[in-house]
Amino acid sequence: MEILNTTKADDSGEIRFEQVSKTFGDVVAVEPMDLVIPSGCYCCLLGPSGCGKSTLLRMLAGHEFATTGEIKIGGSVVNNLSPQMRGTAMMFQSYGLFPHLTVRQNVAFSEKMQGVPKAERLANAGEMVDRVHLTEFADRYPKELSGGQQQRVALARALITQPKVLLLDEPLSALDEHLRLKMRSELREIHREFGITFVHVTHTQLEALGVADLVVVMDHGRIVQSGMPSELYSRPKNAYVAEFVGGHVLFHGQVTAEEGSNLIVKLPSGEELLVPKNNNYSAQKASDHVSFSVRRDRISLASDESIADKRTVKVKVEMTEYQGIYVKVQGYTLSGSEFAAYINDYDLPERTIKVGEIIPFVWDQTANHLLEPNS
């Protein structure tokens, strides 16, 4: 599987961070890191508040100086270039539309700064306004537009500068649920149409999984894992990623033996599960403590027949929640760790799960994924 099938033909929008870090006085916001974002890729920086993703974005934008390291766009070092000179454009979280200018004038702003004559720049702006399907609103003021329309103006205003990279700082965070989903697909569409590199910062994992070609998970100023959404979701590198991306159950236990390419891991409450070895990572000998994860949607209720010969885990149920597509069953294993599974509701027709019950769950052991320790 190639990493990305949306790369541009040339490398003009390729972003390279080489040993880039940022310190504010004594506080290290971003530790020295390396990252390559291929040209034309839609990249999401994902992480909780304070993980450094916004700082990274702002360094890329030219609104912060990097303390160390080189930032390269399209092969050239851009550390000391202004945003305009380095070929980036930013869409701000609150959009920052100029309230005293019409939509058309907002979009024409960058050309006005460059001294393009009035008629020409307004015509160019008009074209861009058409491209984002806001023609009827061209002469309205921002206050008259809906949230989604305002975002399109902000996008048009940024894209008219013909940037190599478009930066988006939590563009969907302030929108309500319905609008968020709609704007997500609009962003993908615009990315497809313009073909430039997008770098999108968010703390919402579903959003990142949904839009990105490349997801970069960050924690406390470091990149923890970067890769395609499917990679992160199926093979999270460590417990932090597994928990942040969501949809996994984490188990902790001790290796008791090896069985071919698998490890036998014993949970505190006695169950023994089979976990495939991970060739990247060495501490997989007997008596090592390990963690592994399983996707919640791979877990099923153990029916009576399967209990005998399969490896099952008993769970004390705390809560069930009907979510339409699945029923979320939540509780604690007998070892005391958190547990949740997504069960199809047609697996449950005769039996409803009651809070307080202890029931066994079972799944294909190849779904167990060994996790590296959090560093």
């Binding site: 030219g62 305009q84 920052g96 539309l97 702003f109």
Partner: protein, 279 residues
């Protein structure tokens, strides 16, 4: 606070009545002066009105009239204009300065607002004494100007602060992202958005100066501004000419206010709430 069935409680009517009475209270005398300025030639300072005439207005501008009203008007207008411009410039600069914390900013803020509280007569006395100690003569365009500035600058500064407080700082970063130099940011983003506030500051600067009395009394020097001239004439003049002066100067002030307020209103209506965050 309507009641459940949609009708207003009796308190609404009582309070409205009070409000109307209050408005009459503060406007009433103005209208009376306005009326009486058209007093007939033989009429006195109070009612009844003998007849309606423009006699006293003509008196005002005739050469025979006591005092130097036209001169005072000219001086007041000129001084008010200068004060307006100086107040505006200094206030905007101060507003820009206060966006980032710097050493001494709190002190300067308190000293400037203290200038609002200190009675004008003391400021006037102080400037007069300083001029005396230093050996400078008081003049309306130097010491008078300075004295009036101590009154207009606090107002101007407070207005600019209020406007900057509502100014979305992100807009400057946006402009910079789109290629604006600091000067371009100032002229294309800050000034246009601040413009209604700037008109308000200019308004305050002009009218506060035009009507200023206490500070000017001791600092205007030999030539009087209009309020000072009126004050001087008040003891001598016992005719409705005083009302004519009063009406003229009030009408001037009102014109300035109404034009400014209308401009501000029109500007603000167009562009209130332009960003997502202010929805």
């Amino acid at each position: 606070m309507a009641t459940l069935n949609g009708r207003r409680p009796w308190t609404f009517y009582a309070l409205s009545l009070f409000f109307v009475l209050y408005v009459i209270f503060i406007y009433g005398p103005m209208f009376i002066v306005f009326l009486l300025s058209f007093q007939g030639q033989t009429g006195g300072l109070t009612f009844p009105m003998q007849s309606m005439s423009l006699h006293w207005y003509r008196e005002l501008f005739s050469n025979a009239s006591a005092g130097d009203i036209p001169g005072a008007i000219k001086r007041s207008l000129l001084l008010a204009s200068v004060v307006m411009v100086v107040t505006l410039v200094i206030s905007v600069l101060a507003g820009l300065a206060f966006r980032k914390p710097f050493r001494g900013s709190t002190t300067i803020f308190f000293i400037t607002t203290a200038s609002l509280i200190v009675p004008g007569i003391l400021v006037g006395l102080g400037i007069g004494q300083l001029a005396f100690l230093v050996g400078v003569r008081a003049h309306w365009l130097t010491t008078g100007l300075g004295a009036q500035l101590t009154w207009t600058l606090p107002f101007g500064m407070l207005i600019i602060f209020a406007v900057f407080g509502r100014f979305d700082g992100i807009l400057e970063e946006v402009a910079s992202d789109l290629g604006a130099t600091p000067w371009q940011r100032f002229t294309n983003v800050i000034v246009p958005i601040l413009f209604p506030g700037m008109i308000a500051v200019a308004l305050f600067g002009f009218t506060l100066s035009y009507d200023e009395f206490a500070r000017s009394l001791l600092t205007a020097g030999a030539d009087n501004t209009l309020p000072l001239e009126i004050w001087a004439l008040m003891t001598n003049v016992t005719t409705p000419k005083l009302y004519a002066i009063g009406t003229l100067t009030t009408v001037t002030s009102l014109l300035v206010i109404i034009i400014s307020m209308a401009t501000i209103f029109l500007l603000l209506r167009k562009r209130n709430a332009g960003t997502k965050s202010s929805e």
